[in-house]
Amino acid sequence: MRAPLSWLREYVDLPASMTGRELSEVLIRAGLEVETVDEVGAEVTGPVVVGRVLTTTDEPQKNGKVIHWVQVDVGAEHNQASEDFPQGCRGIVCGAPNVAVGDLVVVALPGASLPGGFGIASRKTYGHISDGMICAEDELGIGNDHSGIIVLPPDSGLEPGDDPAEFLLLRDDVLDIDVSPDLGYCLSIRGLAREAAQSLGLTFTDVVSKPTPATTAAGYPVVLDDATCPIFVAVSVSGIDPTQPTPRWMARRLVMAGMRSISLAVDITNYVMLETGQPLHAYDAARLQGPIVVRKARAGESLVTLDDQRRTLDPDDLLITDDSGPIGLAGVMGGQTTEVSETTTDVLIEAANFDAVTISRTLRRHNLPSEASKRFHRGVDPDAAYSAAHRAAALLDELAGGTVWGDETVAGAVPAMPTQEISAELPSRILGVTVAEARVVEILQASGCVVAAADGQLQITPPTWRPDLRDPYDYVEEVGRKVGFDQIPSVLPAAPAGRGLTREQQARRAIGRAAVGSGFVEVLTFPFGSAEDLDRMGVPGDDPRRALVRLANPLAETQPFLRTSILPGLFAAVNRNTSRGNDDLTLFETGRVFFAGSGAPAPIPVVTQRPSADELAAIGSALPTQPTLLSAVLAGRWRTPGWAGPGEPAGWQQAFALADAVASAIGAVVVRKAASQAPWHPGRCAALVVADQVVGFAGELHPRVVAAFGLPERSAAVEIDLDQLIALAPTGGSIAAISGHPVAKEDIALVVPDEVSTAEVRAALVDGAGELLESITLFDLYTGSQVPAGYRSLAFALRFRAADRTLTDAETAAARQAAVARATGLGAQLRDF
């Protein structure tokens, strides 16, 4: 809502010195979102004065155009004397067709500046020195008219040299307010003036001043056939002069409010709507056929609306109809057949009220936001209809020479507002600041409520323009807004002792830190995906990652699903980084993926009570499963070559190491098993196993995947289900006594067939070595001439220690022998050095 300050001043006696910006501060405090204050006309600076045309000479040009060489009296201060005009004047070249001797015009003299930074200076043109410009409306930014220069009326009282700004309504402060859905009545000068008056304690004059009379059918016949239209006022005005222009003041205000001036009759309905908040519609009475009936649409009906669109109607659309069928989409937009035209002399003014929900559904169904629907879907004061109709009729009478019929129609009635009872101390309790009962009553009454107080209870009936005042807390907010939120103290509440982060939250933090500490950079990508991504990753058709959840309205048609793997997003991030010259990458992301749920719809329980356990369970089971994954991609080099040594490529080793580090951060131990899983290299992929459960995969990416996603050669990746990993992490460990007895070290080198994994050999050694074994480390891996083909040599360093004694050589040797024996069972042979 754009509200000119001058218009507000008509209904609230603001101090003359108050600026739009000062008023905006007041309104912001009261909860109105004033987005900008436009200082309209501020762009017009310098000498812009009234002039009188003394002479004009037509000078045809070669290009067929006729220019006028005009002498203008611009007042003693600005006139320059010449031989022909000893009293002085200015010579101006003017192209407008309507220059006439004796007319009062608006002249921008050299030194003036007009909207758009257009500076006026003396300049030579068409063989004359033109000493300024005679202005049209659009050049001053006060209208759209460029058909001719502004001609001021002879009775304006203006003289050459005067400042025309006030007469032209050139300058004003316009407040642009984003009205929230609960304050529909502020989509009017009336509502904003009331808020301003109440906030400043000033007198408010209500433009809606005529009480709505009892139902009467004396005027044009109207039938209300649907409960969603409680009241319909129809006032007839006949004999208007359709040629009468819209007066400057009205057109100017419409433009400042963001509307266009169209024709006098239409402008009047718009003007009154802006002023009162009541949308009006003017019908050409001659084109109406039979009684107006307000009803819901019937199957198959359609309507051509004022915007020339034929609209197929829905049975829930509320219509204005006559004998010809639909003539308007109630509260949204009128129809073409009955619209007023340049020949209309008899007008029927409609001022009706419609149910907010019905209108909002229609406006969304037809995607037809209009000034009327904007107001109706927030709720319009039903008691304003009668006054607004009469205000429009009176303006048609005054400005267009029409005659208002004495017989009018008021169909239906203003609905009663619901009374609410609240405790007088409720506002104090909820606001946290004491507001005495008398002050509460005073505020609510100033807001238009009828309040009856008894025994600490308040019986409140809101005014007809406040459908938002309904619940007890609505009144609390109303009191709070008027007291001012800046009056509310700041009191930090004391929460009961908490338990801090949950085990899962702590674990996720520890994991994130471990990844960062291991040299990985966290990124965030959009959690959307495509089936093509899975194809390119080589994910088979029966893989769980194919249980995609499709969005009904995806942001991009290329990514219509929720992701089931984070990796494609990370691959895209790798590409973005490498395209920007960041070549060595260790990226990770922690986030959710989504797998299709049961397929059953989620119920929508009622909101008047807590849903049943079954309803909540049904919502839960309808949702996609949404585990949190940690995914990482490595590309380029792990270590760049430098003075200290050669570089090291990033690859599967670091991918495995990240998995180990992440698990270790929460005390879990990952066992890797060779696996074949998309998108990894089948010979370089490990299933990550914790407590016999696969929690993820890591390894080098498949060469085809590397090619399909355009990744650097030998890029590697990790993807781990954190929910699963964290659930498997140990809890409540105990600290063993630290043995002070000496350690016994034994090295074991084994020649092992290639098909037996290192982990298997290690596990056999551990198993065989028994409880004296303190630690075991692989310290050498050898393949080559010293061992047969198909075999490799693995060398382990074992450390033995007892808690209670120094081990004897015999004990150590026995443990060693047992370890070797177990390994030999796997096909390993002890290697002699």
């Binding site: 946290g432 807390y473 103290p489 700041s490 908490g498 982060l501 969005l551 009904a552 909101v607």
Partner: protein
């Protein structure tokens, strides 16, 4: 083997000569290795003094005592000289080594690649910690959420415009009533349904809007919301909590303002503004010094808040006659922009490692 001669010369003069020779040899030794040679020669088993000592037995009994004393003294003197020289040589060698082993301490070194947490993750932890330190807990919930929990339970009725496909992302088909949560408020609803009162929780997380994607809008972003339900909770409690959070985030000098607003799930509702960090309000009404940060408004919007609408309490099974609550929510990205001058929200989701590495440790 050469043994003591019959005529062993154990005279004072001879012994003094041995001692002097030993001392001279030690003094001549410049390195540990040279000193070792000198030690073997003059204090070793085959040194003159050692041989002389062994020869004591060949003396007449009455001479032995005196010769023993003489030799004992001489050997002690040599040992002392040796120890002293060993210390000197060791010190000198260490000093030389320390000089020789000097490195250029300004050489670039690394343990491995430089890891970094995403600034959004780091800020979520920071903001959550402000609350857990006050006894609040951190609650979480699903991102694909039941429509009832995202809207209806929060007094956002079926006809609310935010429920349209132009604002909210829906799982197909629409009749499944599953949305990508548009705020973390459904976690508040879940908390009220799951936990006993009193409730003091914050809900950080990812949220989705069918929004445009530009420097100040991303369709997937992060929020932190807070919910408090207890006896005697008021708008003043909300103000106190927000003031505390604002100070923790922006320092003690930050100024906040609560401005009435409208949200379906709170009543009264407000937006919380911060005094502009850039112009401190000086751009208001001052066209010569406009402020791009606050658009010369003097304040910048941080988040929304209010007293929990009793309709929401009822839908979640809490008696509004006994309990009242407040809720608030703000964008993490927005907070990051204010705290750390991040200018373009697109940088936060494009995965450029330079963005993630731009805030470290205490500089967050």
């Amino acid at each position: 083997m050469t043994g003591p001669t019959d005529q062993a010369d154990l005279s004072q003069h001879t012994i003094d000569g041995h001692v002097a020779a030993a001392k001279a040899a030690f003094a001549d030794a410049q390195t540990t290795a040279e000193l070792k040679q000198a030690r073997l020669a003059h204090a070793g088993d085959r040194s003159a003094l050692a041989l002389a000592y062994r020869a004591i037995g060949t003396l007449a009994a009455e001479e032995r005592k005196e010769a023993g004393q003489r030799l004992g003294q001489a050997r002690a003197e040599v040992a002392e000289a040796l120890a002293q020289r060993e210390t000197e040589v060791g010190e000198a060698e260490l000093a030389a080594r320390l000089v020789a082993e000097r490195v250029d301490v300004t050489l670039p070194v690394e343990l491995g690649p430089e890891g970094a947490a995403h600034p959004i993750t780091a800020l979520i932890e920071l903001m959550s910690d402000v609350f857990t330190s006050m006894g609040w807990e951190v609650a979480e919930g699903p991102e694909a959420e039941g429509e009832w929990l995202n809207f209806d339970a929060l007094n956002i009725g079926p006809d609310h415009p935010a429920r349209g496909t132009s604002d909210t992302l829906f799982v197909e088909p629409l009749s499944d009533h599953i949305v990508l949560r548009t705020h973390t408020s459904p976690v508040q609803a879940r908390t009220m349904l799951d936990r006993d009162v009193p409730i003091y929780v914050v809900c950080p997380g990812k949220v989705y809007r069918a929004d445009e994607f530009d420097a100040t809008h991303v369709p997937v972003f992060h929020q932190i919301e807070g919910l408090c339900v207890d006896k005697g909770i008021s708008l003043a409690s909300l103000k106190g909590t927000l003031d505390h959070l604002a100070k923790a985030m922006f320092g003690d000098r930050v100024e906040t303002r609560m401005r009435p607003h409208y949200f379906p799930f709170t009543e009264p509702s407000a937006e919380v503004d911060l005094k502009c960090f850039v112009c401190h309000g000086n751009s208001v009404g001052n066209p010569d010094a406009p402020c791009r940060t606050c658009k010369s408004q003097g304040w910048i919007e941080w988040g929304g808040c209010g007293v929990v609408n009793p309709r929401v309490l009822i839908a979640c099974g809490i008696d509004p006659e006994v309990y009242s609550g407040f809720a608030f929510g703000m964008g993490i990205e927005r907070t990051l922009m204010f705290r750390n001058n991040a200018a373009d929200m697109r940088d936060m989701v494009e995965g450029d490692v330079r963005f993630s590495r731009s805030l470290k440790g205490m500089a967050r």
